[in-house]
Amino acid sequence: MEDLLDPSSSAFGSSSPLPTAGCVNPRQPDVVLQQGSRQNPQTGVAISKIEEILAANIDALNEAQALTIPLRSRRTGKVRPVQFPSTRGADVKKFTALLQILHLSHEALVAGTVITKRSAPLILFPEPQRLCSVWLTNARHRAIYYQNPELFGSQQYVDELVDDIAFTFGLGRDALNIVAASKGLIAGAVSVTINNGSALCCNPDDGQGVLLPNVQAISRINLGTTKWLLVIEKEATFRGLVASRFHETSTAGPGILVTAKGYPDLSTRQFLHQLHTEFPILPMYGLVDFDPDGVKIMLTYKNGSRSLQHEENVTLNRLSWIGPRSDDILGDHVQSSPSANMDETCVFNRTPSDQFSLPQSSASPGRPGDFSPVDVTLPLKAADRKLAVRLLLATIGKDSQCTGSLDFVRELQVMLLLNTKAEIQAVDEAGDLTAWLDSALTKNMNRI
């Protein structure tokens, strides 16, 4: 499954999703029956349109013809086929990206399971199908990008292609089970009393998290027995953790999960600030990508943003960075296998000591080097480096002794030195972040 979900941008990789379409096909009527009338009437149209394209490409493969995905330009309204192979490098990438989006969309439409990056399928809700598909659609948009960030390059590229596909099909984006997400979610055993007297339970059974209420409307917050609060950069990560009920099952005790989906909006920060002020003993942690943007998001939560400096009551002095940091990402995973990249005939040393010290650790049963950091890290782009230097300047400039921000400075410097970044998922185990997070939370809470 992993292979099918992760086609590389290479010529060979791009054809891998096709067999999936082939084997899903026969099951399709069952699925449609199961989902019955609750399904969006357009779902069937979307599925058949996608399968039409995939089937045409399987035929093309059999006849050794070029593979084609027709795409209608949103500007001109004309259809321009995206071909593979193609002499235009951009077309090859586009074809691969389109195929992956179609595949993911098809899977979401047909099966109702969710895939976050390199991950195990998340649970299917026992609740009505409608809820399930709402949840799916929310998670989907970010998740597509994280399936293969190196291929897609940017969230924007995904957005463009998704809109192109929807336009080509003559359907709404939601008919593909793909929509953009909204801001500020919370999950946890917290109850918030709103001014009008109604209580907002932040731990609904549907496992989705609830939108944060406006801070002005809150009259009382009851934390119950919660022991910690975790602010998460990415919505997809938040949803994965909520779906596995991490806020209830963590070995660090019950807690609260919050995400503002990337750079935090003002109302999320105001809400957190209120918690921060009212409950000074509640430890707060930030889970962000190991990249300059992740650090900037942490600093925005902690110190406020430059553009909104006139705002008050938005900072979180006690927020601490749980990671992942360079050691989390590179420390355990650095298992480069000496034999992976070299020409065996060139090996002239075979000392006994070194033969004995070859990595026994190779966690992966597959080909050696599977878990080497190359798979989870990316090189910094020029813009990343510029941002890192700007953040260093801002952090060091503000506080020449760097007290309290030493770890931000250190990690930014290491990013620059290694020219390396990684996402939160770099520390998960086959899509499951909970083990790492359990130990990180426990370690951090014992430190205080």
Binding site: D327, L330, G331, V334, Q335, S336, S337, P338, S339, A340, N341, M342, D343, C346, V347, F348, N349, T351, P352, S353, D354, S357, L358, P359, S361, S372, P373, V374, P379, A382, R385, V389, L392, L393, I396, L406, V409, R410, Q413, V414, L416, L417, L418, N419
Partner: protein, 334 residues
């Protein structure tokens, strides 16, 4: 047979002779050795100089506040008279030993590469890794976008002597490391892409593009005689090249983490390597084998350097994320 191999590959012994704990308040990113001292640079703004000709390795000079955002690369000429440092803000400073006879380092100006746009070529770009020639007259540097430049520090610092492109203009792969051969004839650079290039400084041309490493190359080092080039990085392998013909002549394998730093000893008999997992290894070139492994720390080593050989036994220094300078000395009678 086991006994036979054991004898054949007997190890060399190095003992920790001294540790300067918390020599810096943050990670030590770079080291440069002179005949009598070792310079260290870190994530803080200060460069420290410790004497290596006294048993207690005392701190003899601190250059304070020289790189506001921290310093990632440091180089010293072999004669110990010229040094250069590069900060995270892109600032490049040149240092020289005072002519007053105090032995102290003093400022010898800067190299403001980012400002100069020479001959319509768009300038040398912000410097990253640097290396100095034996007498300190020439400085070689890399940039983020893969440009390699050689500068004459005694001449016009506003322009480069040589300018080598490693990709189409401005789109080369990040030059993570660089070295100059001792005779000044060659410049070698290692890149994010895994590429290793050797340039001929007399012809001003690319001499070799060396194959072998696929992952980022974080250290390149010429042997003292200039006949070999060692290159290593994320693949965990040290690749050895013959500089005369540009051939890949072998690999040294044994590290199980990213290799961050390489250095040849004075005679060219031994190669020292440091890795992200805190392990330092000494390799015998003759035997093509690792003869000593040291791991005082499990934190990343960012820099390792031999101290130029004096009358005493050969020594080397390691440093990195544990913020300390650890000195090792070859054990006698092994």
């Amino acid at each position: 047979m086991f006994a036979f191999t054991y004898l054949k590959y007997q190890s060399k012994q190095y003992l920790t002779t001294h540790t300067v704990d918390n020599a810096h308040i943050t990670d030590i990113f770079s080291l440069a050795a002179t005949p009598t001292s070792i310079l260290s640079a870190s994530g803080s703004s200060t460069i420290h100089v410790h004497a290596t000709n006294q048993d207690s390795f005392p701190l003899i000079q601190s250059l304070s506040g020289v790189h506001k955002l921290g310093c990632h690369h440091l180089a010293a000429s072999r004669d110990g008279k010229i040094a250069a440092s590069v900060g995270f803000g892109g600032d490049v400073k040149i240092w020289k030993v005072s002519e007053s006879g105090s032995g102290e380092w003093e400022s010898f100006g800067e190299l403001d590469a980012a400002k100069h746009s020479e001959k319509g070529k768009g300038g040398a770009g912000e410097l990253w890794a640097i290396a100095l020639s034996e007498d300190g007259q020439y400085l070689a540097s890399t940039t983020y976008d893969g440009r390699i430049n050689v500068w004459d520090l005694l001449g016009d610092r506003g322009m480069t002597l040589h300018e080598y492109e490693t990709g189409s203009a401005g789109s080369g792969s990040f030059g993570l490391c660089i070295d100059l051969s001792r005779d000044g004839k060659y410049t070698a650079s290692g890149h994010q892409s895994g590429a290793v290039y050797v340039f001929n400084n007399s012809t001003g041309r690319l001499q070799y593009s060396l194959p072998g490493l696929v992952k980022p190359v974080r250290a390149v080092s010429f042997s003292p005689a200039g006949t070999r080039l060692a290159a290593a990085g994320d693949s965990g392998i040290i690749a050895m090249y013959d500089t005369k013909h540009g051939e890949h002549v072998g690999n040294l394998t044994g590290h199980t983490a990213w290799i961050t730093s390489l250095d040849w000893n004075d005679t060219g008999e031994y190669l020292l390597s440091g890795a992200f997992d805190g392990k330092a290894k000494v390799w015998s070139i003759e035997r093509s084998a690792c003869v000593a492994t040291h791991s005082e720390t499990d934190k990343a080593l960012w820099a390792i350097r031999w101290l130029p050989k004096t009358v005493r036994n050969e020594m080397f220094c390691t440093s990195g994320a544990n913020r300390s300078l650890t000195f090792y000395r070859e054990a006698t009678g092994a």
